[in-house]
């Protein structure tokens, strides 16, 4: 399901299937997309941040069109304990690889992979310095 921002319209709540993973897409060429994501984050229930949220940054191939500082995005990822993936949608190879990664993450979040749960993402996020 694709949405331009959160919250999702409440009229369709009863028809919506369970949400297993929320991917926030940030276009590195658009500051507006970062602002939009930041406002939408407030509408996500805290339980999602146990491995069911990730940030996908697109457009990283074009360094010269960058409008957002990557530091700011990494800080966001850290603040919300969620992984940040970088990709370039214009390159087919990377597009396909990213889609496969997201699919894998979704399978884990939906509980389809025995022995691995969404909580594993959270422990992988921990900095080695923290130990």
């Amino acid at each position: 399901h694709l949405a331009a921002s959160l919250p999702l319209p409440s009229e369709r709540d009863h028809l919506r299937p369970r949400i297993d993973l929320v991917v926030f897409m940030i276009d590195i060429k658009s500051k507006y997309s970062l602002k939009n994501v930041e406002t939408s984050l407030a509408h996500v229930d805290a339980s999602f941040f146990l491995g069911k949220v990730c940030f996908l940054v697109t457009g990283v191939g074009r360094v010269n069109a960058c409008s957002i500082e990557t530091n700011a995005i990494c800080k966001l990822g850290k603040a919300y304990c969620s992984p940040v993936l970088f990709c370039e949608l214009e390159l087919e190879g990377i597009r396909v690889a990213t889609a496969q990664r997201l699919l894998r993450m979704l399978q884990i979040c939906a509980g389809h992979i025995p022995g691995v749960s969404a909580l594993s993402f959270v422990s992988l996020m921990r900095n080695s310095d923290d130990d």
């Binding site: 060429k29 658009s30 500051k31 507006y32 997309s33 602002k35 360094v63 010269n64 069109a65 960058c66 409008s67 957002i68 500082e69 530091n71 700011a72």
Partner: protein
């Protein structure tokens, strides 16, 4: 990130030729075995190279036969600190063979290499390398290509067009809008290009220079220092103001050009410096961009 206070101002006479011209920017990797003492030799060699290329049919001017004269000179004043190399100026002038011997040479192309506080690159260089990471050219692209290829062949260096990202343009407009100017300044202008439309659309946002400076003064906490957060707040205020009036999110568009009374810059790597007082500051920022493109 600002030139230190008490920076000797560069002699305005010597640098007047730099102002109010649109310079195309390049980053240049360090020059190998460049000798400052051999400038006259280099000028001769470059002149011969250009003549030879013209013989080959790479004519740069159609019609009138032109002799191209090359002059190389050092500009000791154009540098940030003693650690920087003095700037190197290359000028191509022409004298038409048809006109009288007394006719003056006409400057047809100029380009200059410089380094202003470029220590990041120069400090770890092996001997025999000269660091002049920023190159600015003004004149026909064909001459730029000729001069560039001679330098690349002779000093084993590499030229690359220097593009300026919207993020860096934001830094520039914040820095320059905040500069104190004694004369009446021109408007601060930001030009945005709107992506993904059938017809390309450009939005020009002009702000009264005093308003822009007043805004920057409320945002900047420490004079002489600028942080990314301050630049973000400054830009967000401008975006919010525009949105309030026009319901358009400029933050979703691409910032392509910024223009202030100090200087203007375009994302394709073209700058115009308008004020000699801030020349070192502008060059320092451009040197930094050139170095980060090289590294």
């Amino acid at each position: 990130l600002f030139p230190p206070p008490g920076q000797e101002s560069v002699d305005p006479q010597k640098t007047a030729f730099l102002l109010r011209k649109a310079w195309t920017l390049y980053s240049v990797t360090p020059l190998y075995r460049f000798r400052r003492a051999r400038l006259r030799d280099y000028a001769r060699l470059l002149s011969a190279f250009i003549a030879a290329e013209k013989q080959k049919g790479l004519a740069v001017e159609v019609g009138v036969e032109l002799d191209i004269k090359v002059a190389l000179s050092s500009l000791a004043e154009l540098r940030g600190s003693e650690l920087d190399q003095a700037a190197l100026l290359v000028q191509l002038s022409s004298r038409s063979r048809a006109s009288s011997r007394n006719s003056e040479d006409k400057l047809v192309w100029s380009g200059w290499f410089c380094s202003v506080f470029g220590d990041d690159l120069s400090e770890n260089l092996p001997e025999d390398f000269t660091s002049l990471p920023l190159f600015l050219s003004h004149g026909a692209e064909s001459y730029t290509a000729l001069v560039g290829s001679w330098f690349q062949k002779t000093f084993d260096c590499c030229f690359r067009r220097l593009a300026i990202s919207p993020q860096n343009l934001s830094w520039m407009v914040a820095m320059w809008a905040g500069c104190k100017l004694d004369r009446a300044a021109s408007a601060v202008e930001l030009v945005f290009s709107v992506p993904r439309l059938a017809q390309p659309l450009d939005i020009s946002y002009a702000i009264h220079p005093e308003d822009a400076k007043a805004l920057w003064d409320t945002v900047q906490k420490t004079p002489g220092e600028i942080t990314q957060e301050e630049v973000d707040v400054f830009m967000d205020c401008l975006y919010a103001h525009f949105h309030r009036h026009f319901k358009i999110h400029l933050s979703a568009a691409k910032l392509v050009k910024v223009s202030t009374a100090v200087a203007s810059a375009h994302c394709d790597g073209i700058v115009k410096i308008l004020h000699s007082q801030y020349l070192p500051g502008v060059l320092m920022l451009l040197t930094e961009l050139a170095i980060s493109q090289i590294q």
